[in-house]
Symmetry: C2
Subunit: 310 residues, 2 copies
């Protein structure tokens, strides 16, 4: 039987995911819960981590590599930021040790773009990026990591040149919950329930992103004047926000840049539909696999001895 | 003493404003309250109106002209819409009588743009527009009526060609209250507290409106990386939304079109600052005066006899 080599943890704001990884890189066990940073800051990070390790009967001396919001100022131990431009490998060198733990626990840093006019930060996505892009990649790559705060990263010859966060997911959430458009979407099933409306909105917002906040209101007017359905309104809002995001993100991309989508599940389906609708060529990398690969690269760099025990 | 000729009411979603107008067009009395459509739909529209008329000792036979959400489906009596393109004067002919009232009460219709790709509606702003633009105006005029839902109207030779609603005010509200940016603006005073940050954001969003939802996130990143203040973050969010709105609204305006801003108070100051920052020429019409003039034009068209009693 394969012996466990290390534990990989993706610790987000509202989610916790842990994998027990074997010496042959196989996944020996997996845990998922809602004990993200917000919840763990109350109950204790060490306690949350140990409860999941105990559930998987992980040996006491097994090291743990962590990425995400556990390294934020309001997280477990602040892991700081690596500044752009930077090589992807640099994040491996910035891991901080969590003091006072029986086992070796390291948290990976985030990335910061300190330009005064477009400051930006990420925590967790840098590890996905590390797992999504080959270290020896050549040319310009545009990496799209959709989510509550979608991250678009420009990588040239393996260097992270810069990145941009678009508040797409969170805006969809607050608009459909708290604005007048909440009435227009009331009762709609989960996205994407109306692909035709989604694709029409993607095209309209991509073509004229300056009209995004106007197009959003057509969900209300369409309901009043043309009996637009809740599913149609929801797809229109989602398509408008995503279409404007793609237009903005690609506005500074060079010709010939390739697009890599790092996503899974519902978001993967939505963004693939958007890229197809806009006739944009893209490659998809599964987001879960990417973060595991990134954590694995970090673990191997930090604990090379675990490698040799194979 | 001047005798009262009619009563003018601007009945919005969350606000009620009433003026007692004399035969010589002077304002004999004024009432303002929060008894907008939402509240009046509960307590009764007739009751709310009568309480304010009683407070001003308005004669029992005095006619009342109303604009705004009192004419919505969920309002007092549905007043329908006049479809664009239309002359401004056409809204005068679309007033509906409220049945079962001791006095003559008329509600003005809204405007509807039924184009399938950009449906839009307004209620109340059409009356402001009537009071803001001379009936014999020549050439192209772009009228900006900022608010919860900003309305931009294109008028050519006195004809309303089309209009666009931008959700600027409501987006500012839900973003600063319900998104992660609520932390960045916590404790900020009322806008505009940081003009420099506001003007920088206006320029950035006007230049690249496709990056609007990215620029919004710089309020968060700027706080983390550069100690951006709450007033600065608030001004950045407001400037981003207004800058993108102006870019979108003017994207289809013809060269040589004149901009008329119909606003008062805080919104007037913000939009004048934005127009100046972008070196755009504009004329301001006071929003209160505009809606009164529009209601007055309607009253004189509907009850010409009141005119003759002067």
């Amino acid at each position: 039987m394969t012996r466990p080599a290390y534990v990989a943890v993706d610790w987000g704001t509202s989610s916790f995911r842990l994998w027990l990884i074997g010496e042959d890189d196989s996944i020996l066990g997996e845990r998922r819960s809602g004990e993200g940073m917000t919840s763990a800051a109350q109950t204790g990070f060490a306690q949350v981590l140990q409860s999941h390790l105990t559930a998987l009967s992980a040996p006491d001396n097994l090291p743990v590599i962590v990425c995400g919001m556990a390294g934020a100022r309001q997280g477990w131990v602040e892991a700081g930021y690596i500044d752009t431009p930077t090589s992807l490998a640099a994040i491996l060198t910035g891991a901080v040790s969590v003091p006072g733990q029986a086992r070796d626990v390291r948290i990976l840093p985030g990335l910061a773009q300190r330009a005064k006019d477009v400051p930006d930060v990420m925590r967790g996505e840098e590890t996905q990026l590390l797992g999504a892009i080959p270290a020896d990649a050549k040319g310009e790559q545009i990496v799209c990591m959709p989510g509550t705060h979608s991250k678009w990263v420009r990588v040239v010859n393996g260097q992270v040149i810069g990145f941009s966060t678009f508040m797409t997911g969170e805006l969809f959430d607050v608009i459909t919950k708290h604005s007048i458009l909440s009435h227009a979407v009331a009762g709609a099933a989960e996205l994407p329930a109306d692909s035709a409306a989604f694709e029409t909105a993607i095209k309209a917002a991509f073509k004229k992103p300056s009209l995004a906040t106007n197009l959003l209101f057509t969900a209300r007017a369409g309901q009043l004047l043309h009996g637009l359905t809740a599913a149609g309104a929801q797809a229109l809002i989602s398509g408008t926000l995503i279409g404007a995001e793609i237009a903005g993100a690609l506005s500074s991309a060079g010709q010939g840049a390739t697009i890599t989508l790092v996503a899974s599940g519902r978001l993967q389906a939505l963004y693939e539909d958007a890229f197809r609708t806009l006739s944009l060529t893209y490659t998809t990398v599964d987001a879960d696999a990417a973060v595991r690969r990134g954590l694995s690269a970090a673990a191997k760099a930090i604990w090379p001895n675990n490698e040799r025990t194979r």
